[in-house]
């Protein structure tokens, strides 16, 4: 089964890293994964996108995702400036990091990753690090990879204390993600 994901955020938010953590976690479970970053001159603050494929079989394709099962929006302000729904399947899932959850798509999930970052002090150079809570949330929604694998992948990516905190953030994201029901 192939699952295709689009991650949307802003340059500097760790969108690419989030994709790579997902792949690392999948590989830990002897699955296959592919993380394709936005190819261009990434600039801090500018909207960026990263594509992820996860599967139990080898993945041959190398192009960006155009039929996503899940789109994850790392910053709710993006709703106003880009079409975040582009490439999302009709029956796909939208995951938003927001303080004011709305039903953006037929199936919408949300998590407040800002507060998780604040709570754990995950702020770097003035930016809240929301990528790991988002990865946790994705693990939960898709059910493709265990939170354990995600935590391990995070600890490999960031060393020491930062790794611990980010793993904790992912776990909180995993636990706190909710579906918008109304």
């Amino acid at each position: 089964m192939l699952t295709e994901i689009i991650l949307r955020g802003r340059g500097g938010m760790g969108v690419v890293t989030a994709g790579e953590i997902l792949v690392k976690a999948a590989v830990k479970e002897d699955k296959y994964g592919q993380s394709i970053p936005f190819f261009g001159g990434e600039r801090r603050g500018a909207p960026v996108v990263s594509y992820v494929r996860l599967s139990d079989e080898p993945i041959y394709m190398h192009r960006e995702v155009i039929n996503a099962d899940l789109v994850a929006v790392f910053d709710s302000t993006l709703f106003d400036i880009v079409n975040v729904f582009e490439g999302l399947k009709e029956n796909g899932i939208l995951l938003a990091n927001t303080r004011n959850p709305k039903r953006y798509w037929k199936k919408t999930f949300y998590v407040n990753a800002y507060d998780i970052a604040d709570k754990l002090g995950l702020v770097m150079a003035g930016w809240r690090l929301v990528n790991t809570p988002m990865v946790g949330a994705i693990a939960k929604i898709t059910g493709l990879i265990s939170i354990r694998s995600v935590e391990e992948a995070i600890k490999e990516t960031f060393e020491g204390k930062i790794g611990e905190l980010n793993a904790e953030a992912a776990r909180l994201g995993y636990e706190e993600v909710r579906e918008v029901d109304n």
């Binding site: 790579e20 792949v23 690392k24 999948a26 296959y32 592919q34 190819f39 041959y60």
Partner: protein
Amino acid sequence: MLQITKRITAMVGNHAVAYAVKQAKPQILAVFPITPQTTMLEKLAEYIDSGQLKAELIKVESEHSAMASIYGAAVAGARVFTATSSQGLLYMTEMFYWAGGQRVPIVAAIATRAIAEPWSIWDDHQDFVSKRDAIWIMTMAENVQDAYDLTIQAFRISEDKRVLLPVMMGFDGFILTHTMERLEVLDDETVDMFLPKRDYNLIDFNDPVNVGPIVTPDNYIKYRYEAKKAMDRAKEVIEEIAKEYEKISGRKQYGLIECYMCEDAEYVFLAMGAWVGDAREAVKRLRSRGNKVGLIKIRTFRPFPKERLVEKLRSVRGVIVFDRAYSFGSGGVLASDVKSALYNSGIDVMSVIAGIGGKTVRPLHFEKVMEEVLEGKRFEERWLYE
């Protein structure tokens, strides 16, 4: 019985190549930054500064000097490595020919990228194919795993006494350099066993020689003929080394070409590089609809695997060659090679030019072209620019 010990991990292409280079234990490296190769250079610098790789990385002032300095080191017996892309590859051109002509074992990784003007940092194969006559063995990777495997094999092929030619390993810029994929890596001991200590050195103070002097017109052509024969011998050596690598890695390795579902195929795609994967996906889908189609992946571009192609394509009716590079005033670069290999065979060779400068090509594009051909349509050359 050999115990295969491997580790499954995930890496982006640039890091996978850097990891393979680290395991090959070169002594001297020289790399100049250029997108999309740079993160490989950074990784190599990290390996060296942290003591994981006991080597010197010469931080040269240009690509020309990158190749020049590793040429000097290689002549004096070092296992060497460099990497570049696009404009950098062009700037290195003179030294490429220099090293190829002298037949010094060198390995270079090429993150393929379009050539300016106009500026483009995105992927195609124009830079790579421009080196086809530089007397280098040229291989091209399909995915991150391939890039890793080919890099390790490149050192072995290059230093093989029957070959003694430099090897460049091409892999698509961004599409592979920056994409993270599952990767199986060999352990260091296995690589050590596979890659014996380098035995090539021209600087011996007890037997001083003049390396690369002028030669007379009578002899120049003889040296070139020797190089041609080495290239011919390389075909066999590449396949032999691939077989051996298959044993130590437990992964199927294709030396010169890979045939995917082409046993009973009437029509096949032929391509090299990362989009082979997308063509593979297209073949899968077309097959699921009952079409007799297949795919030929060119893994070794130079020496061009003429004999293998003829052998594998004997029973097909047509070949659709996908080129990401063009010889202006002539035609698709791979297509020309394929046509020449299949001369007089009666097999239709159709040339598609696509993906130039990073233009997206998906499995769907492959499928559409093939469907038309299956319906009986024929063309000589077609550009996919819409």
